[in-house]
């Protein structure tokens, strides 16, 4: 694998670790009480940053490589 792909691969794998969103949804849906609800929603928001941001930024990096 060429070293130039290290950062995009890291970024892509990082976006996959946003799979935590699945756990966050389960927690938020089954939340019992305010604290759990807040934690669940916070977890969803943070995991979504990871997923959306991660895949978008990986795509941006790779799009740039192709032009060169």
């Amino acid at each position: 694998m060429p070293p130039t792909l290290h950062t995009p691969l890291m970024s892509g794998a990082n976006a996959v670790s946003g799979i935590a969103i699945v756990g966050a949804i389960v927690v938020a849906a089954n939340a019992d009480g305010t604290l759990q609800t807040v934690l669940g929603i916070a977890a969803i928001a943070m995991a979504t940053v990871n997923v959306i941001g991660g895949f978008m930024v990986t795509d941006r990096m790779l799009a740039m490589f192709r032009k060169r």
């Binding site: 691969l9 970024s11 794998a13 935590a20 927690v27 938020a28 759990q36 669940g40 928001a45 978008m56």
Partner: protein
């Protein structure tokens, strides 16, 4: 419906593998990323179908906030700032996994010694380390603090003691020694785990930070996997382990490069 969900989870996990594999070659990398993103979409849809969701408001608010923040940041950031951006995204992912474990613990604070209790603590610890470690790595690369290694006498001893402390407090949280309030001990446990993330990253210089971020990325995968064991979710376990393993391999490749 259950079988259907499991099949979609399996398909999604397989597509993650295919996607990450394609990301390793220049010709297929962009398609690989799209495949992984599609796999994530599948996993989310399956989860929503499988989970009885009573109130959508909170979930939609969370997704809207996260999507806006993630999307805008991903578009606006300078190409030269990529490593720290991956770092901070990773911190969010680790925090999310930790919060899943924390919420599960708060549901049953008197869980006692057992597989679930230990898994919750593992998820909380790895997620906590990833969270603070990633944000510190971000701060170092972004120039919010010195990029030089921060070392002090007795650092290794402190780290070793801290690790033992985490184990001890973890045992107390599960009531192994009796007498301590589980909730109080759990909060101390969370604090120590986050401190561990800080101490992990401060002795490392800015130039080595991308390797650290890659390692922390691997940790966030493990944290997700642990969260998967906590709530018994297959796709979370498999995909988390996948990121954990591929992250470790990539970290090693980056060390050699």
């Amino acid at each position: 419906m259950d079988t259907m969900v499991e099949v979609i989870y399996l398909l999604s996990a397989t597509l993650f593998v295919v996607g990450l594999k394609r990301l390793q070659s220049p010709a297929t990398a962009r398609a690989g990323n799209a495949i992984a993103a599609f796999a994530m979409f599948l996993a989310i849809v399956a989860t929503v179908v499988d989970t009885e969701i009573l109130t959508w408001n909170g979930i939609l608010i969370g997704v809207a906030i996260g999507g806006l923040v993630g999307g805008i940041t991903a578009r606006r950031v300078e190409m030269t700032d990529m490593p720290q951006l991956v770092g901070i995204f990773n911190g969010f992912g680790g925090a999310a996994s930790a919060l899943v474990a924390v919420a599960e613990f708060l549901g049953t604070p008197t869980i006692g010694v057992g597989t679930t209790g230990v898994t919750i603590l593992i998820g909380t610890a790895i997620g906590g380390v990833t969270f603070t470690g990633s944000f510190l790595a971000f701060a170092k690369l972004q120039g919010l603090m010195t990029g030089d290694p921060i070392t002090f006498p007795g650092q290794n001893i402190l780290n070793a003691l801290l690790f033992l402390g985490v184990l001890a407090v973890g045992a107390m949280t599960l009531g192994a020694f009796g007498g301590q309030d589980p909730l109080t001990m759990f909060y101390v446990f969370c604090g120590l785990a986050m401190l561990m993330g800080v101490l992990l990253v401060i002795p490392i210089g800015g130039a080595d930070m991308p390797v650290v971020i890659s390692l922390l990325n691997s940790y966030s995968g493990l944290a997700a996997s642990a969260a998967g064991f906590v709530i018994g979710n297959m796709v979370l376990i498999i995909s988390g382990a996948l990121v954990g393993a591929s992250g470790l391999i990539l970290t090693q490749l980056m060390c050699k490069a």
